[in-house]
Amino acid sequence: MMKIGHMRITKKQVRHLVIYLLLIAGAYFMLSPFAMMVGSSFTENVYVIEYPPRIFPEDPSLGNYDAVWNANNFKLYFKNSLVVALSSTVLTLFFSSLGAYAFARFQFKGKEVIFWFLLIVMMIPDLLLIIPRFELVNRMGIRNTLYGLVIVYVATGVSGQTFFLRGFFEQIPTELEESMLMDGGNYFTIYRRLILPLSTPVLATSAIFSFMSFWDEYVWALTANTDSAVRTLPVMINSFQGQHGTNWGLVFSAMMIALVPVVIVFILSSNYIIGGKAEGAFK
């Protein structure tokens, strides 16, 4: 800027600078809530918000993390969430890839009608079916169990993933499958030895989104599982506040701990996504 007399700053450069500044200001506005969350999680005893509020704690400590991690049942809820989200993800991917393979490779009676029926339910918000589903798991005797969560998560997750995977499977060339068939393999061998290995990038993307949605799920877990032994993390975190005045530091450090598995799944899966770019998952 000091050389302004010698350097020619074009109109275009000025415009780019203005755009950068506007976008940075916007990003600051969008992201500052997260910064406050991180900052407060390292500040102990934030019952009352400090005036003036500060993003970086004066005396940072891991006290909240320690307190939350060792709080009543936190580890149990963490484990419950992990078991439910992981098994739901694996089952969702297994069933929807099986189905997507059939829809992509076979001609059979009623194919498009069945596919259409599977898809149309994605238009119906899960909350509209929460009452009869509650009735169903209640009658099946799996209310207040982790099975009750997994079975409903898989049931609501498979439609979207089948749709997503079918489109990808259709693009895989069929020549290899024919030679496998001639070598005496059956269709399940093709699915397992050929389709699945060729689809790891897509399956990884599916896995990220499925895991995230199951890990964060709140309403069904709140409604179906009222016993504290089978509660999950989001329900626990939300009930953290309010009881005796909110200790925001504790709430925020619990939220930060809850983010760890998501980040890990993200990093693990992004290795399998084409080009190894995590950014691809955002598309």
Binding site: H16, A27, G99, I124, A155, V219, N238
Partner: protein
């Protein structure tokens, strides 16, 4: 696809889709039918008590219930504010990012972060920011900008509570529409824009006469999906105000949920679900009629 793989009248494909079909029948189709049945009952989950058939009573109740009217009004108002809010801001961000020489990817990710944040986390953050009396928003309005004389009890009144809920909806949704607009912008042929520039069209003119018409499919797509999404607003209200004070901030879905699982009126909740499902169906059909399928507008 080669014919040898296209097996007809074979049991194999049915085996592959069997799990999907079983899940569908038990957890999608059966609940739909069950819900319809429940909506004609005074339904309870007490083992000792029988469910009483009440005919159309639950449905009649819906049209006489003033709280349904209020919830409906709140839901529509939420859609009316947050849908254009998200679209306009997302368009602005997309245009700015598109005009950057480099660093597009970074900003795209930054603005997308709220979209992948869970509603539980986002809602707790809103309760923190809009805290009374000492939240950051109150601090900014009172001590920094001196726009108010006393701290606002945001969640104490429906009007101010919805300011927070609407802002959350917009904040969390910008990134989603932004991505769609951005990819549509990148699909505009460079020659068109250059030709307009050579002809001396101002940036505003280039946006209005070249970009905007080409963005119509993307815009109508977001309009339809955001409207349906806004009609389904639930978690933010449920977690931030819980429908309170005095059920004045209830939206349709939160009211339905509270009727069933707080007041144990499951039959009424089921009837509300059936009506909303039909309502959503009508809205989708009307929108496809009047706004058109996204592809057709090209």
């Amino acid at each position: 696809m080669k014919k040898s793989l296209l097996l007809r009248k074979n049991v194999v494909p049915y085996l592959f889709i069997l799990p999907l079909v079983l899940f569908y029948l038990s957890f999608q189709l059966y609940p739909m039918i069950k819900e319809f049945q429940m909506s004609f009952f005074d339904w309870t989950f007490n083992p000792g008590k029988e469910n009483i058939f009440v005919g159309w009573e639950n449905y009649q109740h819906i049209f006489q219930d003033p709280k349904v009217k209020l919830a409906l009004k709140n839901t529509l108002l939420y859609a009316l504010i947050t849908v254009p809010g998200q679209m306009i801001l997302a368009m602005l961000v997309a245009l700015l990012i598109d005009a950057l020489p480099r660093g597009k990817g970074v900003f795209r990710v930054l603005y997308y972060l709220p979209v992948i944040t869970s509603w539980v986390i986002a809602s707790i953050l809103v309760r923190f920011l809009f805290n009374f009396p000492k939240g950051i928003i109150n601090y900014l309005l009172l001590d920094v900008f001196s726009l108010i004389d006393a701290p606002i009890n945001w969640f104490g009144a429906p009007g101010t509570a919805f300011v927070a809920i609407d802002l959350l909806g917009i904040w969390k949704g910008i990134g989603w529409s932004m991505l769609i607009y951005l990819s549509a912008l990148q699909g505009i042929p460079k020659e068109l824009l250059e030709a307009a520039e050579v002809d001396g069209a101002s940036p505003w003119r280039r946006f209005w006469s070249v970009k905007l018409p080409l963005l119509t499919p993307a815009i109508s797509y977001t309009l339809i999906l955001l409207t349906i999404g806004a009609m389904n607003v639930f978690l933010s209200v449920f977690l931030i105000t819980g429908g309170g004070p005095q059920q004045k901030t209830e939206v349709f879905l939160s009211y339905l949920y509270h009727q069933a699982f707080e007041f144990f009126d499951f039959g009424y909740g089921a009837a509300l679900s059936v009506v909303l499902a039909i309502g959503l169906l009508i809205v989708s059909i009307l929108q496809y009629r009047f706004v058109g399928k996204p592809e057709r507008l090209r």
